[in-house]
């Protein structure tokens, strides 16, 4: 009997200490039937990559409110690629200016969610990613 539960890592890279947004997302995904691994605050890109590897997650969600997303996100992507997690998609949420959004999407990020995004949108987005992954396998 096969049971498929999506596993999502929610991480906060860098030095910003506000994780209410990350917790709201984690809770919403939990309520959507997903298993959410929350790593806590102030994670280095290497720590996030390692957690993603050990937990074998389907998706990594980064919450960044500090404005350092253009520095941190590529470093997380790089750290994940280094441990051969090239195929694990990254989503970014937080205060991301529109002009950075498109750049991030070229840096190995599959979705950027700013203020005003509903939790339903994020849930559906992740759901689609997981279904796509399963049909490819």
């Amino acid at each position: 009997m096969t049971v498929r539960t999506a596993r999502v890592l929610i991480a906060k890279p860098g030095l910003d200490g506000h994780d209410r947004g990350a917790k709201v997302i984690a809770r919403a995904l939990r309520d959507a039937g997903m298993e959410v691994i929350y790593t806590g605050l102030r994670q280095t890109p290497e720590m996030i990559a390692e957690a993603a590897l050990q937990e074998d997650v389907d998706v990594v969600g980064l919450s960044i409110l500090s404005g350092a997303h253009m520095t941190l996100v590529p470093r997380v992507r790089e750290a994940m690629n280094k441990v051969e997690l090239n195929d694990v998609p990254i989503l970014v949420g937080g205060i991301i200016p529109d002009e950075d959004r498109d750049t991030l999407l070229t840096l190995g990020v599959v979705g950027v969610f700013g203020p005003g995004t509903t939790t339903d949108e994020i849930r559906d987005f992740i759901h689609t990613l997981v279904v796509k992954k399963d049909t490819n396998e």
């Binding site: 096969t2 498929r4 309520d31 039937g33 997903m34 074998d56």
Partner: protein, 346 residues
């Protein structure tokens, strides 16, 4: 999948992670892999860490892992958190307390959700531990969900069970109730820097003095299951293991080396007294029963026409049948597949 087994045995962390997912999802591939891995198991010492929510299990696991790493031992950690009974989702947050272990190639942490299991660990925890065992970790720490009074399934997986208490959680009557305290091989009062720690230690020691050690041994082996298991008391003449009561403050490493020593003494005791062989045999027997139960249930449901169960539930709901009678009628169809399932109208 056999590639995954090979890479896992060769030490690939990615292969280990992916295998654990397969095992959790109980895929047919996982079953084949577990068969191949089973001969490689039996080398790790498995330590269960259980206790009420907020007593500091994760911090204690973190401190223990650091201590074992300092001894040069590799450590696998399985941290279990509860699945929501409503959505099936879960928030797995034990890693938050284990940040210090990040970046150490000798440590592997895996979070698990209970996925509906009520005994404090997930149904797949035993298999997840086996995979880690086969992957070659010296020590495997299993952290249960925040346990109440009766989540005692961990004893069937762990060689040494550490029960964590914290000051101020209950009086001496709580301490003599049946359940989780009885499964302890080592009792720890964590957060010992808080007021009331000495009282908690006293209550736990008093509890141990009241109890008869031989009786404790039997209950621990039965752990509340109704399955008949013969209790072998082959060390009647030897001294029984009395669980030590220790104080720790996991967040600043106080008392951790004493805890490591206590776990080591327990390990030596169960090995030297021969208890380990008897216990393992009993747990394997229980596992066999459990798996047989699941397999029989599955096979039964396969032979049952899909409508039969629904019909039966309707009859019960209408008070035409009582649930046990319904079970008897369903079982009767096993012997006579042609028999029509009919409600008792009387």
């Amino acid at each position: 999948m056999s590639d995954l087994v090979t890479s896992l045995l060769a030490g690939s962390r990615r292969a280990l992670a992916r295998m654990l997912t397969q095992v959790e999802n109980a895929t047919p591939e996982a079953q084949q892999a577990l068969e191949k891995l089973f001969p490689h198991t039996g080398n790790a010492w498995i330590i269960g860490v259980t206790g009420a929510p907020g007593t500091g299990k994760s911090s204690l696991v973190n401190a223990l892992a650091k201590a074992y790493r300092a001894q040069g031992k590799t450590v696998g950690i399985v941290a279990v958190d509860p699945t929501s009974p409503f959505s099936g989702g879960a928030i797995l947050g034990d890693r938050i307390r284990m940040v210090e272990l990040s970046g150490d190639a000798g440590v592997f942490i895996r979070s698990m959700a209970t996925r509906g299991s009520l005994g404090g660990v997930a149904r797949a925890t035993r298999d997840v531990v086996r995979v880690m065992d086969a992957a070659g970790f010296d020590i495997i720490l299993v952290e249960t969900v925040g346990a109440g009074q009766s989540e005692v399934d961990i004893v069937r997986t762990a060689h040494t069970t550490v029960v964590v208490e914290a000051p101020g959680l209950g009086d001496d009557v709580q301490a003599i109730k049946a359940g989780i305290l009885e499964i302890a091989d080592v009792l720890v009062v964590n957060k010992a820097d808080r007021p009331g720690a000495n009282q908690t230690v006293r209550a736990l020691r008093a509890m141990l003095e009241l109890g008869h050690p031989a009786a404790r041994e039997q209950f621990a082996r039965h752990h509340g299951r109704l399955i008949e298991i013969e209790v072998q008391n082959n060390h009647q003449d030897e001294s029984l293991w009395i669980p030590p009561v220790l104080q720790t403050t996991a967040t600043n490493n106080t008392g951790i080396s004493e805890l490591v020593l206590a776990i080591e003494s327990h390990r030596q005791f169960v090995i030297e007294s021969g208890t380990i062989t008897a216990l393992q045999k009993q747990y394997l027997e229980l596992e066999l029963y459990e798996r047989l139960q699941q397999a029989l249930m599955q096979r039964f449901l396969q032979t049952m026409p899909k409508t039969a169960l629904a019909d039966m539930i309707n009859h019960i709901e209408a008070r035409q049948l009582d649930p046990q009678r319904a079970v008897n009628q369903l079982l009767a169809t096993l012997d006579q597949p042609s028999l029509n399932i009919q409600a008792n109208e009387s």
